[in-house]
């Protein structure tokens, strides 16, 4: 039943460009999709391992910059007379490098920041994102600084039998986002429903207990950090090639907050949560735009976040699941009912 429901949702999403005429709404679908992918990756850390990483936008932005620079090429003088010159490569390599590079950064940041927990972890992750933003702003030779990287080539796909296809149009990008989103969803689903996922949930519920029964906490945290950062990097890469211009504002804390709001509202630690949250917060700007200033959108985001935490601390998806309990339980249920309210 649930599986059928998922297929219907995917089929509905796949049909969107066929009947939707308004390019602005399709654009909203694409950017929302990209941020939903990023939110799904954040959920792996925030929802399953319980680590509130507020520097997640760094991996998204790093993915965007790596991918854009790979496909644009650059010429940077590191020392006197020592140039690093890179010729433009096809976009697909940029996409793959973005994933690898973001994952690598996830590893390094995890290595540093998992030494502390709680509030300190949060502050280290935010600091990392801010440092990366300042580097993007000030290393003008590489990133053009505030002038932004422009004319980023659109995504190119090598399809069997069709040769190379440029994804200039919105519909092409839409299917790219949908495809990458599905892959990311499936990867995360398999990860969290495996032994690894249960270990992550165990360490979220009670870290000392998890350690005492022999779960290698650091290894699982690192795995979550790397996979999460890599997926965020993929989302960032798509974003760069879709917008075709990126500037250091991509690293703004507000974008991390957007991802966090999506996860919290939908339900952290549930697979569907970030998707539901993404849909809601993708719709708000579209609705608000018609009658109010952009600030109003953000004020609503903030107010919504506070309201959700007060009213539905577990998010929307767990609340719905409580009303419609699923049939015979196959996997052990994520017991997170008590996590936020008690402790």
């Amino acid at each position: 039943m649930r599986r059928l429901f998922s297929y219907v949702i995917v089929a509905l999403l796949a049909s969107v460009p066929l009947w939707l005429g308004d390019p602005y709404i399709l654009n909203a679908f694409i950017t929302t999709g990209i941020f939903t992918i990023a939110a799904m990756s954040l959920n792996l850390l925030l929802g399953y391992t319980g680590q509130l990483s507020l520097g997640h936008v760094a991996f998204f932005g790093i993915g965007a910059y790596v991918s854009a620079l790979t496909s644009l090429g650059f010429d940077v003088e590191l020392f006197e007379g020592f140039h690093v010159v890179h010729e433009p490569w096809p976009v697909v390599y940029g996409f793959l490098l973005a994933i690898v590079f973001a994952g690598l950064c996830g590893y390094l940041v995890g290595k540093l920041s998992f030494r502390v927990r709680g509030a300190y972890f949060v502050i280290v992750t935010i600091s990392f994102a801010e440092v990366v933003r300042l580097v993007a702003l000030n290393w003008v030779e590489l990133t053009q600084g505030p002038l932004a990287l422009t004319s980023i080539p659109p995504f190119t796909l090598g399809l069997p039998g069709l040769g190379y296809v440029n994804l200039y149009g919105k519909a092409g990008n839409y299917y790219l986002v949908l495809g990458v989103g599905l892959v990311a969803y499936i990867v995360i689903k398999h990860l969290v429903q495996s032994r690894i996922g249960r270990a992550m949930i165990a360490l979220k519920e009670n870290e000392s207990l998890a350690v005492s029964i022999g779960i290698n906490v650091t290894a699982y945290l690192m795995l979550a950090a790397v996979v999460s950062a890599a997926i965020a990097g993929a989302a960032g890469s798509i974003y760069a090639h879709y917008l075709r211009i990126i500037d250091p504002d991509i690293f703004l804390f507000l974008y991390t907050v957007t991802m966090v709001i999506m996860v919290i509202t939908g339900g952290k630690g549930t697979l569907a949560g970030p998707v539901v949250g993404g849909a809601i917060f993708g719709a708000i700007p579209v609705i608000v735009r018609s009658f109010a200033a952009p600030e109003v959108q953000w004020i609503l985001y903030g107010a919504f976040m506070i309201a959700i935490i007060f009213v539905l601390p577990q998010g929307i998806v767990p609340a719905i699941e409580r009303w419609f309990p699923r049939g015979p339980i196959k996997q052990p249920r994520v017991a997170s009912q008590s996590a936020a309210s008690v402790e």
Partner: protein
């Protein structure tokens, strides 16, 4: 050498207000275990309130300053009563998310009300700077340092010499025992948040006129305040005072001798370095949390 002395003078002026920011946050973080993301917005609020009082009500800067501090006190108490009191038993991550929501609301309200254009405030101080050998300091900035030092001393007296301060220190050490000894912990929380917020507003009210006032001035002020708190150790007022001056020195020297673009990066590098080398802070007294 002359340049260096000028950097030191700038450090003192910046450091005084950073210390105010840091003390406010270390009280809130230490006593309430709340990661207060609205701290930077109260800083912005203080600056705009001074602007409002001077330009709309036509009052003098010297009068506007205490008005802004009291407004910060009231706004802080309001935030505590509305958002934090119902959340008192929630875990630290949950309250953190509430405070992020509040930060987003406050930041964008400021932008909506005041617009994106930076404002400047006129003060009764002469334009010509005070020149002492190779160092020149405007009278306004000297006044800023003096007021910051006065407020720091006042906070010390409040915490170490008054009954309220004693109750705050007791709550910091052990909330439950303090409660058993008859300390009204709920009231202490409200008072702590209000006092911390008023110090942030004071920092904004002092620094705003010395530079310019913009809706985004508070964006990284919260994080700078965290850098100071981490540097000084949780709940340690002396540590926060010294930490404020250290951060100001790092920023001044970084901007002066490395690159002005990386001025704001200093705080973050300090955070990362301190947490990795000595996570309890340089002047640690208390156990770290989390």
């Amino acid at each position: 050498m002359a340049e260096f002395l000028q950097h030191i003078a700038n450090t003192l002026i910046l450091g005084g207000t950073y210390a105010l920011l840091g003390i406010g946050l270390t009280l809130i973080f230490g006593i309430m275990r709340v990661v207060n993301f609205t701290h930077g917005e109260l800083y912005t609020f203080g600056a705009y309130f001074v602007f409002l009082v001077i330009s709309v009500l036509g009052l003098n800067f010297l009068l506007a300053l205490p008005v802004a501090i009291i407004a910060g006190l009231l706004l802080g108490a309001l935030i505590e009563l509305l958002l934090l009191r119902p959340m008192r038993d929630a875990d630290i991550d949950t309250t953190m998310l509430v405070m992020i929501g509040a930060m987003i609301v406050m930041q964008n309200s400021e932008q909506l009300v005041w617009g994106g254009v930076a404002k400047s405030v006129s003060t009764p101080f002469p334009e010509t700077p005070l020149v002492m050998g190779p160092v020149s300091v405007s009278y306004l900035r000297a006044f800023v340092l003096l007021m910051a030092l006065l407020l720091i001393v006042a906070t010390y007296i409040l915490i170490n010499r008054t009954k309220l301060g004693k109750a705050m220190r007791a709550t910091f050490q052990d909330r439950d025992t303090a409660s058993l000894m008859g300390v009204n912990v709920r009231a202490i929380y409200t008072a702590t948040f209000a006092i911390g917020s008023s110090l942030a507003a004071a920092a904004g009210a002092l620094l705003g006129p010395a530079y310019v006032i913009s809706p985004h001035m508070g964006d990284i002020a919260s994080l700078k305040a965290f850098a100071i708190v981490i540097l000084g150790g949780l709940g340690n007022v002396t540590g926060a005072t010294i930490g404020g001056f250290i951060l100001a020195l790092a920023e001044e020297l970084g901007a002066g001798y490395v690159s002005s673009g990386y001025r704001d990066a200093m705080g973050f590098l300090i955070i990362i370095a301190v947490l990795l080398i000595k996570p309890t802070g340089l002047f640690a007294r208390a156990e770290r949390i989390g």
